[in-house]
């Protein structure tokens, strides 16, 4: 038998117990109320699908082909009415404060019908996380209360996140790459703020968001050490919209080009820069910037994984229904053994994908940015205290610099590096596994349905068009494979290096 004294060393060997079997380690720590809360969220997503997604998806997809400039204002209003835009904003910032992992399940549900509409709901949180993950309590408090207010007044206030540039896509998500790359969006420090010049592309919801969370660079020769995060309101002088991108799928959710020409952003709208980092740590700024990026993508990649599972599920459900209703060669497809095996393969893809994004969520919940929110006493305190309490007693405190210092110190300075690697690695795994499954299932559904599946009015061809984008955004699946290697495999061998071949 193994001795107790041996256990620690044996479990520290590769693959480390701490970095695997996450659900086994962390499920017991789950506040029980989270399960009930999650069930309610899933039910709400299903109701939203019945009342909004299913009736609108095909019609609007077709509409975007007829009229490329179409913008989904009505849908955004509907999503706002359902409370999606404040659902996962913590109560301290004015939101409904639902547990953040439940966002994945809701996105899977909506994505199983339409990834474009799923994106209209979900991509707003990329902007939200672009502020929270930078540890800026003051701006989180200001802007996220505005989102909550938009929900009450019926005038949606949504956020977009601006990172990708015409000559820097993948590069923007890895500091090692961007330092050698072609970053071009320049934020020049001037008295009282920054002046931004440059272009950002492929910005989901860009044309329709009220605020954009912009990441630019104050030194284009060494951008990785000189990131500047800013909030820019739509309508600000110097910010205009370029082309409305003409995508293969997810067309209901617009992707935009944003053009910054001598656009002045005041200091009070700066989310993070080098000077702000100096106030809470002596660590090099690039280390902190990488942590901010990793926090954001560790959440967003799990969410994209959930969409991938949604895509896989949607394709499976359509194929199953078709097989149950259609006769081929004299008998129902569902009674052909080959079709049964194909449907089982699709079901397996869904189940395995879901398990992987759940593991990614456990990493985020216990080793990443959600950690503090899943701490049971705090979870219940936040859950049962009325919002008015936070608005009255907590929000005023968040306006002080001390709140920024505390939040930045806790999230950006104190997270162990091993936790950063674990969360980032698992998020990448979930992202590329689930999105490959999504595309694969759409292809399999088309194979089973033949020409019937090719028709836009039968949903499945749209699911393939929509699913393909999942393999590209939030870092291509190739980049995510390299990131998994970097985070979960390379640390075992000191001689292993990435991005240096």
């Amino acid at each position: 038998m193994v001795l107790d004294s041996e256990v620690k060393d044996l479990l520290a060997k590769f693959p480390k117990f701490d970095d695997t079997l996450l659900s086994l380690q962390y499920a017991p720590r789950l506040p029980k109320a989270m399960v009930k809360e999650t069930k309610k969220i899933i039910a709400l997503a299903r109701k939203f699908n019945q009342e909004v997604t299913i009736p609108y998806a095909l019609e609007l997809d077709r509409k975007t082909h007829e009229d490329h400039d179409f913008l989904p204002w009505d849908l955004i209003k509907k999503a706002n009415e359902y409370g999606w835009y404040s659902m996962w904003i913590p109560k301290v910032f004015g939101g409904r404060g639902m547990n953040i992992p439940s966002c994945s399940y809701a996105l899977e549900e909506i994505g199983s019908v339409c990834l474009g509409i799923g994106n209209i709901v979900g991509v707003h949180y990329l902007g939200v996380m672009g502020i929270i993950c930078a540890g800026n309590a003051k701006l989180s408090n200001m802007i996220l209360h505005e989102v909550a207010k938009g929900e009450k007044t019926g005038n949606p206030c949504t956020l977009s996140l601006c990172i990708t540039e015409p000559n820097a896509g993948t590069d923007t998500e890895e500091l090692e790459l961007i330092n050698k790359g072609k970053a071009s969006c320049y934020a020049e420090k001037v008295k009282g703020g920054y002046v931004v010049n440059g272009r950002k592309i492929f910005i989901s919801m860009g044309h329709v968001a009220q605020w954009t969370v912009l990441y630019a660079y104050s030194n284009l020769k060494k951008p990785g050490s000189n990131i500047v995060g800013m909030l820019v309101k739509t309508g600000t002088k110097g910010l205009s919209f370029g082309r409305h991108e003409n995508k293969m799928g997810q067309r209901i959710c617009p992707a935009s080009e944003l053009i910054f020409e001598d656009c002045f952003v005041p200091d009070e709208h700066v989310i993070i820069d080098k000077e702000m980092i100096k106030k809470f740590t002596n660590k090099p700024p690039e280390e902190i910037f990488m942590k901010v990026i990793d926090y954001i993508v560790s959440i967003s990649r799990c969410a994209v994984g959930a969409w991938g599972v949604g895509a896989a599920r949607g394709a499976f459900e359509k194929a199953l229904k078709y097989a149950a209703e259609t006769k081929v060669d004299g008998k129902l497809l569902i009674n052909h053994e080959w079709a049964q095996c194909l449907l089982s393969e699709m079901y397996k893809n869904i189940a395995l994908g879901r398990l992987s994004y759940i593991e990614g969520n456990y990493a985020n919940s216990h080793r990443g940015i959600f950690e503090i929110l899943q701490f049971k006493p705090l979870y219940y305190y936040l859950k049962y205290m009325p919002t008015v309490f936070f608005d009255t007693f907590v929000a005023p405190f968040l306006k002080f610099d001390a709140a920024n210092w505390l939040m930045s110190k806790y999230f950006l300075d104190m997270q162990p590096h091993a936790d950063q690697l674990c969360t980032s690695g698992w998020a990448s795994l979930a992202k590329f596994a689930c999105t490959d499954f999504g595309t694969k299932n759409a292809l399999l559904a088309l194979e089973l349905m033949g020409h019937t599946g090719l028709r836009q009015d039968r949903f499945v061809e749209k699911q393939l068009r929509d699913a393909k984008l999942l393999q590209i955004y939030e870092g291509t699946n190739q980049l995510n494979r390299v990131n998994l290697f970097k985070c979960l495999i390379a640390p075992v061998y000191p001689q292993a290096s990435v991005f240096e071949e």
């Binding site: 590069d171 790359g181 072609k182 060669d329 052909h336 292809l443 088309l446 028709r455 009015d457 699946n477």
Partner: protein
């Protein structure tokens, strides 16, 4: 293409490449807007003028009387630029092959003599093997005349042509027959062009017939025989479309990989990109040699050539689906946009895979033929 190593086929390749480069490639994005944009009538007219709509049609029927190799060369070159026109040529050639098997050269000669490209087309349900159909149009026979009633989904070219060749079952018979109908008949109701995944400018329609006068082609109950014989040859032609799509995807990806930088280097210099490109190139080379071999087998009447033709289609079509997924991936976000041809090639590859019927059922039929 290896199949065009001989001089005559090389001239077809040059002709088709020249046509595709000048007539199709520059307007690919615009032509793909159909049915929400204009139909590319002038490109189709030019294809008609060059004889691309009657490549395998015998000379006595007004065609240019080439064998399957010439059709494969033309389809491959055209689909490198735009799969939609290849889809039109394929569907029309398939209908012609079925009619030839049924001995209907007079009908084909009449169509070939039409003044316009649209007038020479014969609509056909190119995406289904009638044996897999759940329900059939019924034919009522009265005084040696036939009248058809029922519905048929996804009739390719049905919105363009004036005549269609469709399968139907004569009342009281188990096996189906083929009939020609006039699509302008008042008893024919056609849907709007169906908005589909790929081949946007090769439209299909749903039709509904109410006692429509029809002409039987060949003999009663011999439809499956004519279709399977035609499909034996046309499978390799569908593989040629898929190969052309793959080639277009590779060319676009290679050019992009040389121009695009990541981490300060051309992306072609990252080994994972090289790996993806190599996987695509290897598949194309294998498809090329496979198609060439099948064409030679057909032309020399090699034993069991039909199995080679069907195997080639199943393999190359699947390769094209994989290749075009990676073809988009190599261009990242740009590959997903309509500005490049990659997203269209992904859609077209999957559309092409559905030609001639359900893939799994095709595999089962293949095994049946193999073990007979």
């Amino acid at each position: 293409m290896i199949v065009s190593m001989n001089e005559e086929l090389k001239s077809f390749q040059d002709l088709a490449e020249n046509y595709a480069t000048k007539e199709l490639a520059p307007k690919r994005e615009e032509n793909d807007k159909y049915p929400f944009g204009l139909f590319f009538s002038s490109a189709l007219a030019k294809a008609h003028e060059l004889g691309f709509l009657s490549v395998t049609l015998p000379e006595e029927a007004g065609g240019i009387g080439q064998d399957i190799g010439a059709l494969c060369v033309i389809l491959s070159c055209i689909s490198t630029a735009d799969g939609s026109l290849a889809g039109i040529i394929f569907a029309n050639s398939l209908a012609q092959e079925v009619a030839i098997k049924a001995g209907e050269t007079a009908l084909l000669a009449e169509l070939a003599s039409a003044a316009t490209a649209e007038g020479s087309l014969l609509a056909f349900p190119a995406y289904v093997n009638p044996l897999d159909m759940d329900s059939f149009i019924f034919a009522k026979k009265k005084d040696n005349h036939y009248f058809l009633t029922g519905k048929l989904d996804y009739l390719t070219l049905g919105g363009l042509s004036s005549k269609a060749l469709i399968p139907a079952k004569i009342q009281g018979q188990e096996d189906y027959s083929f009939f020609v109908i006039n699509l302008s008949s008042a008893q024919v109701i056609k849907s709007e062009p169906i908005f589909s995944l790929g081949f946007h400018a090769c439209p299909s329609v749903d039709i509904s017939l109410n006692n429509v006068a029809a002409a039987l082609i060949g003999e009663e109950g011999k439809g499956a025989l004519y279709f399977e014989d035609a499909a034996d040859r046309m499978h390799v032609a569908s593989a040629a479309i898929s190969m052309g799509i793959m080639k277009g995807s590779f060319d676009e990806a290679l050019n992009y990989a040389k121009e695009r930088f990541q981490g300060g280097r051309q992306i072609i210099n990252w080994s994972e990109v090289k790996m993806l490109l190599a996987n695509i190139a290897i598949k194309i080379k294998n498809a090329d040699i496979t198609i060439a071999g099948v064409c030679r087998a057909i032309e020399s009447n090699y034993p069991d050539w039909s199995l080679y033709s069907r195997a080639a289609a199943l393999q190359v079509q699947e390769m094209a689906c994989d290749v075009t997924i990676d073809g988009v991936q190599l261009l990242g976000g740009n590959g997903y946009m309509k500005d490049y041809g990659q997203e269209k090639r992904l859609r077209d590859a999957k559309q092409a895979q559905a030609l001639l019927g359900l893939v799994p059922m095709e595999k089962i039929r293949f095994m049946k033929k193999l073990t007979e």
